[in-house]
Symmetry: C2
Subunit: 102 residues, 2 copies
């Protein structure tokens, strides 16, 4: 539950330094989580820019509002696959994705 806990903290604004400051994450875990958070953030930005509510967006990508909320929170239960597919559905190109994570 380490990663899960930290993700929560991050999402709620508890982040102070970067990544592995808080719990004892391996560098690999840190990179992975940072990546997911980058995508989450990008997703939220894009959805907001499109003036879509989570409910509307959920309908668009055929999922539920609750899952959208979890995507944007970087919840451990959501895969990078889902984040990427959702971003693509919002029109993101490979370059957009590259920018989001770099």
């Amino acid at each position: 539950m380490k990663a899960a806990k930290r993700t929560k903290l991050e999402a709620n604004g508890w982040k102070i330094g970067s990544a592995d400051e808080f719990l004892n994450l391996s560098p690999e875990e840190s990179v992975y989580i940072e990546l997911k958070l980058s995508l989450s953030k990008s997703l939220k930005q894009r959805r907001s820019k499109e003036n879509l509510s989570q409910v509307e967006f959920a309908k668009l990508v055929k999922t539920s509002q609750s899952r959208v909320a979890k995507m944007e929170a970087g919840d451990p239960s959501v895969s990078i696959d889902l984040l990427v597919k959702s971003l693509i559905a919002l029109g993101a190109s490979p370059k957009d994705l590259a920018n989001a994570i770099s």
Copy 2:
């Protein structure tokens, strides 16, 4: 089985134009598959550069040789998550990943 079929073709060098030339993939599907293929390719490159066999690499990331082969083939049964985790295990940074897909 559309995407699966096409991935096979691509991986075997049948690719002529780009992405959606072959089967009737939606633009979103195309982007998703291209992304996976980029990561697959990058993974194979990195592993080769490290002079690791699939068996050795499999041990390193705690999976099996067969799964490694599937990762590198862009098999539909492998997730972006797994590809990303594997790349990170080989030392790839977020920037490296960004470069790989852009």
